[in-house]
Amino acid sequence: MSIFTLVKIAVRALFRNRMRTFLSVLGIVIGVAAVITMVAMGEGSKKSIKEQMTAMGTNAITIMPNQSRRGGVQMDASSSTETLEEEDVIALRKEATYIDAVSPLISVGGQAIVGNNNSPTSLSGVSADYLKIRNYEIADGVMFDDEADRMAKVCVIGQTVVKNLFPDTDPIGKTIRYKSIPLKVIGTLKTKGSGDFGQDQDDVIFTPYQTVMKRFGSTIKIRQVLANSIGEGYAEKATEEIMGILKERRNWTKPTDPFRVFTQEEMIQMVTSTSDMLSLVLTAIAGISLLVGGIGIMNIMYVSVTERTKEIGLRMAIGARGRDILLQFLIESILISLLGGAIGIGIGIAASEIVKNVMNWPMSVSVTSIVVSFGVCFATGVFFGWYPARKASRLDPIEALRFE
């Protein structure tokens, strides 16, 4: 009996029980559509995080104090043995050859106030190089100079802050108050959009780091230093060099590193591994619904075999071999699951488009997920159809014919 004939018989049998077929197909449709949409969601968010981080500057390197651990317990950050100092920044700027920009980053939380307007923006103490590291550009006015504006009460603000504090005036030359300290606006930044974690990258106020350290509290220390490697592929060398310079300044002899140095690449990996985990969980949930769909098929096939015992007996009496019966039922279950798969993929893609356009969620339908779900459907059909089909093929024709 040819496969074509078998498929024809199976299609006819499925058509005869339209409602039942529809319901068992539905289980698979929901499963597959869920898988496609969930994977698209996970992939989409991963992709957009990557894009945003790349926009932030692929060559950026972050240096942070190494938190000391004792017996696996992370100790309080203040107990960290080493702190970054201004001299470290100066040494890196002077000695390192694989980096072309370096800046401390000290953040202070608070409100910026101008008259009746306020903006809940954190204040970032940086050096002029920070613009280069983070790919900011000056829109109007100038950036402060590390030497000339040392400890000066000046600032450069992002467009969100401009909108909040100066809705209808030119901010250049005006003064904002931050924690009662007046800062004169000397420049504004070009719009950059939202950042890696959805934060507004235009909601920033930059001021010289010395200003923050000296005027906003004597205990403020440099918690983070950012650098920019001279180009793609130099991140590793730059990391080694930075660590070397920092150790040398301290005559470091301990086996553990005093600081942690991340390249942007590593940051991307860290963030995407979180989102990978999320994808995995979503896909697992979707996979469970596919499993439930498969069990639905098995149930239907069992009912079908029992209901058609007499038909099976007749087919055997007129010459069908066990193999023919097995294939007939197996093909039926495979058809159900593949049909469900095809419809599910269609619905999954449509749902992803809707989520993308209506809810503005980044979605990316992956070809892999389509191919894999189709393969899984086929496997589901074979796996859950096998046992009922085998039961059918092993019936005794005499008893099957006598079955009422």
Binding site: M1, T5, A317
Partner: protein, 235 residues
């Protein structure tokens, strides 16, 4: 389903020759069904031989038996056993589906021919539930004919039919036998046996009688002798 072994047939031995029309009679429990199952290659004798068309069948495997059923045997059942919601022509084509040597066109052609032989060429696309009992049984006979078997096995083929329709069916069997078909017909109705050329009677698993019927009745004549039907014709 008990564990006790019952020998439904014991020491039965007979030959059915090519072109014979044999009826096998017996009360229930006489071994009729077991006999038919063995003749139909659905079951194998625990001992002894069954030679069909020169082939020993008692040692064959399931698949080989299926092949013999597909090519050498035509079954007609008491309850017709047509596939529901499947047209007459497709029901008749069914046995040929399991013979890979036959093409789709050949299958269709043969099915049409078989339906013509039972006088149903006008009902080819009807579904079983649109046909009368007699017509359904004629579709079943066409299905048994379509693979050109060496023997047609009928199991109480008139058991569900009234006298008139039974005679109509017997008419078809007699016509097929005249054309050279070998027929083994299991029945418990003595008047049906009178249409055959030989009757084997079983009792308690043994052949009680095996007689050649010297005065075979003609089903057509018997049908005409019946009082005319009072109700309107089923056609």
């Amino acid at each position: 389903m008990g564990t006790e072994t019952v020998h439904a047939l014991r020491g039965v031995s007979f030959d059915i020759h090519n072109g014979e029309f044999v009826t096998i009679m017996g009360t229930s429990g006489s071994g009729k069904s077991t006999m038919l199952n063995i003749l139909g290659c659905m079951d194998r004798p625990t001992s002894g031989h069954y030679i069909l068309d020169g082939e020993h069948t008692e040692k064959l495997k399931r698949d080989a038996l299926a092949k013999i059923r597909s090519q050498k045997i035509g079954f007609v059942f008491q309850s017709y056993n047509l596939l529901s919601r499947t047209s007459a022509i497709e029901n008749v084509e069914l046995p040929l589906l399991y013979n890979p040597a036959i093409s789709a066109a050949e299958r269709h052609h043969r099915a049409v021919e078989a339906l013509k032989r039972v006088g149903l060429e006008g009902r080819m696309n009807h579904l079983p539930n649109q046909l009368s009992g007699g017509q359904q049984q004629r579709v079943a006979i066409a299905r048994a004919l379509v693979n050109d078997p060496v023997v047609i096995l009928a199991d109480e083929a008139t058991g569900n039919l009234d006298t008139r329709t039974s005679y109509e069916i017997m008419m078809i069997f007699q016509e097929l036998n005249r054309q050279g078909k070998t027929i083994a017909f299991v029945t418990h109705e003595p008047d049906i046996a009178t249409f055959s050329s030989r009757t084997i009677t079983l009792r308690d698993g043994l052949v009680k009688k095996d007689v050649i019927n010297t005065s075979v009745q003609d089903a057509k004549a018997a049908l005409e002798a019946l009082p005319p039907p009072e109700v309107f014709d089923e056609e």
